[in-house]
Symmetry: none
Subunit: 464 residues, 2 copies
């Protein structure tokens, strides 16, 4: 493949793009913590300014009930496909601060990696399509396809207000498919494309017993201990083989095709190395499936937290007045988040003993699973480009985690999402010392340029 | 009964005794938490000074491996009985702080009750015998009996170092029986004497899974969630009828005599009123027993605390690296605390799944159950005095709670313990808003004065 003028320009401008990323990560746009709110506006303004510099039109910062959404578009390629480019400018909290080698909001380049909170998730990757659009405008005065940009500030808080925004801006966002700058390469040593992500629903179970904490000697044996009731209830949520024991939980789970099962089975995956990496002495989850199948294809019910009674040093002889647990389920295609919460609530209510009151609180922000059709042309193109650049056909992988946007864009806009991100899963993006490989930054520029070029130059536009 | 000069003095000094108690509860002598350690020394010094003021001799603060023991004596009544007076100056932790109406370590009198941590357990009751001894010394220049005082600072941590102290000070503590200022009146509306207490053993179960908290999406289904393992283990500790399901747990439990069962059955006890008082919607515990039998005669296994993963507001999608639970068992005669912990540890180890490591930590300070012989003369005298003062013969009750001293004094010193406390079980002494009735403070002074006077004036000393 010959290096285009656009690619040459991008290459010559590497120092400038590094400097832009350094300025971007210096803005502490932490969406989870209200203390950072002014910096969210600052980051949104930075993104809008960058889109204007790139020559994009209709640049706009939209307030939401949460953090702002930034949009822009360029729709002067009649007949060519239209791509909705997605990314997010918010970042995870930096804590624990003392675990960082260099300050989280001051970029530092060490051994070809730029270290800073947000460098990999998603500030580095989301700057790539803007830089590519800018390069096309400067070289050709136009883009090879129509583009709409949507950058949100709430990805790290479950994209809480994104669906309402998308529903209210269907015309603005109209496109053939989404190309996401978010989502990560599964492994550093293996090119991959993500074709599915699990959904999520969240709930809290609260068991209340006596009106106040009681002395466990004076009252022990006379009242129901809420912790005892809670652990007995929670123990009913899985069976002895690790499957979820809530009636109806697996109803509607769509079977995975033989082809897809075979493709997953063919992926080289070292379970022992994985377990050593996470520090677990043995695998967990549902018997009868491989570890990758458990993680990608099977829904789960996980306890994220449990608390009740005295949890300090030493002992305190109380029967607590309440105990509670936080639960999230990861869902697969065919499962509805609201229904799953209802099934769990019903199962727990049916088993609740007299002597305690059991409440199931539904947490906001559920999302169904998402999967792109295997034959989607935008997906195939991403595979072609990655093979060209990385020298190896990427494997199709699923994500155990949840990216709500895939399902939101499909349901609200009727379009699918191709994940085309150049972050890598080992870049510690939810941990201290997050970094982004500068080689990925450069490769991503080339990849996006070729992707848009190839998409716009198809003799007949593909059917999405 | 004529009011004695000692009783008159105690009555006239009520304001002073209130002020002394206010100063005593202002010292945050929380024995469970090392952060309060300096205040333990402060409280011990306060007790020693109070004993000196009262005219007691050989006042001494003894360091131990834990918190200090304070002793004093007055042995100038040859031929009269010798009584070992017991109490404790340590208190429960004040948490949760925000549930207190007034600060836990600043006394506030509201409607005849003094509110403060430790007011009822045991600072108010333990000041009573000191005040009574002081009054005898001031009125008569002598006591009617020989007294030895022993005040410990570790009652709330299972009197961990008391046994070693008692064993090392047999001569200092030599007495005919113990009269305990600790232990509570069973009900505010019914005079009672405590004739037995349950024993205790304590342990913590820690379940460790992956080496660090993991993202519940990326890793969910691939590793064992420590909370899931913990709740399934804990759920195996009771059967569906509320009995403890640990093999061997009930081995050796001594049968209760028909007489004692009949006496318990004759006690008027309103289960509905009890449940309303503690705010529990229905009784708990072991099926097949009355509520009083469950609470007094049957051993229990109670969860005092459980914690793991994220317990803050909202949700955090983690698989925690560990989860743990604190457990105490209440034991009855025939059960050995160390053996019970071993049985539980063995039961849990046998059920531990691959993929987690389960550790059972034995907490120090277990104690077997204790019962005083039905015919003990010191017990009969306490019943006589209470009947005189409260106008009704007290019922004999057992304690669901544990007072390790009864068993320690019996085994190490060969003497029995009469519980003669004026706290009442409804005074929230292991909960926020602990209080002590000022009427009980006053009645206790009269009762102790008469008890010692009567004991010293017996024509021939009873055989203990």
């Amino acid at each position: 493949m010959e290096t285009s003028a656009v690619e040459s320009l991008l290459e010559s401008e590497r120092p400038r793009h590094l400097e832009i990323l350094e300025r971007f990560v210096a803005i502490p746009s932490v969406s989870t913590d209200p203390a950072y709110k002014p910096h969210m506006a600052e980051a949104a303004a930075f993104v809008a300014e960058r889109l204007r510099q790139a020559g994009m039109e209709a640049v706009e910062i939209h307030p939401t009930e949460g953090h702002p959404v930034v949009t822009a578009s360029w729709r002067r390629a009649p007949g060519a496909p239209t791509v909705l480019v997605y990314g997010h400018y918010d970042v995870q909290p930096p804590e624990p601060m003392d675990a960082w080698t260099s300050p989280p909001f001051r970029a530092e380049v060490r051994e070809g990696r730029l270290y800073a909170r947000g460098a990999s998730d998603d500030k580095g990757p989301m700057l790539i399509p803007i830089a590519v659009a800018e390069a096309f405008m400067r070289v050709d005065g136009r883009l090879p396809v129509n583009l709409v940009f949507l950058f949100e500030g709430e990805e790290e808080v479950s994209s809480a207000h994104l669906e309402a925004f998308v529903a209210a801006h269907r015309d603005l966002l109209a496109a053939d498919f989404t190309l996401s700058a978010d989502g990560a390469q599964w492994r550093a040593d293996l090119p991959s494309v993500t074709v599915a992500s699990r959904g999520i629903c969240a709930l809290e179970v609260v068991v209340r017993g006596p009106g106040k904490d009681l002395h466990s000697g004076r009252h022990g044996g006379a009242v129901v201990n809420p912790i005892q009731a809670l652990v007995r209830l929670l123990a009913r949520l899985h069976d002895d083989r690790g499957a979820v024991a809530v009636p109806g939980f697996y109803d509607g789970v769509e079977p995975v095709s033989e082809d897809e099962l075979a493709a997953i089975a063919s992926i080289q995956f070292d379970e022992a190395a994985y377990l050593a990496e996470v520090g677990a002495p043995a695998p967990g989850g549902e018997q009868g499936y491989t570890l990758l199948q458990r993680n990608w294809l099977r829904p789960t019910l996980e306890f994220n937290g449990v608390v009740g009674g005295y949890t300090g040093a030493g002992k305190k002889t109380v029967i607590p007045h309440q105990a509670s647990a936080k639960i999230t389920c990861r869902l697969v295609p065919g499962q509805d988040p609201q229904r799953v919460v209802s099934l769990i609530a019903r199962h727990l209510a049916a088993a609740a003993p007299a002597g305690v009151r059991v409440e199931v609180r539904r947490e906001p922000g559920g999302a169904p699973a998402y999967a792109i059709p295997a034959e989607h042309p935008g997906l195939a193109l991403s595979e072609d480009i990655l093979e060209e650049i990385l020298g190896r056909r990427p494997v199709r992988v699923r994500m155990g985690a949840t990216i709500p946007i895939g399902e939101i864009f499909r349901r609200v806009l009727g379009i699918h999402t191709v994940f085309f991100s150049f972050s890598t899963v080992d870049e510690d993006y939810h941990a201290p010392n997050e970094f982004f490989r500068l080689s990925s930054y450069a490769a991503g520029m080339v990849a996006w340029a070729r992707y848009l070029q190839r998409l716009g130059s198809a003799s007949s536009p593909p059917a999405f």
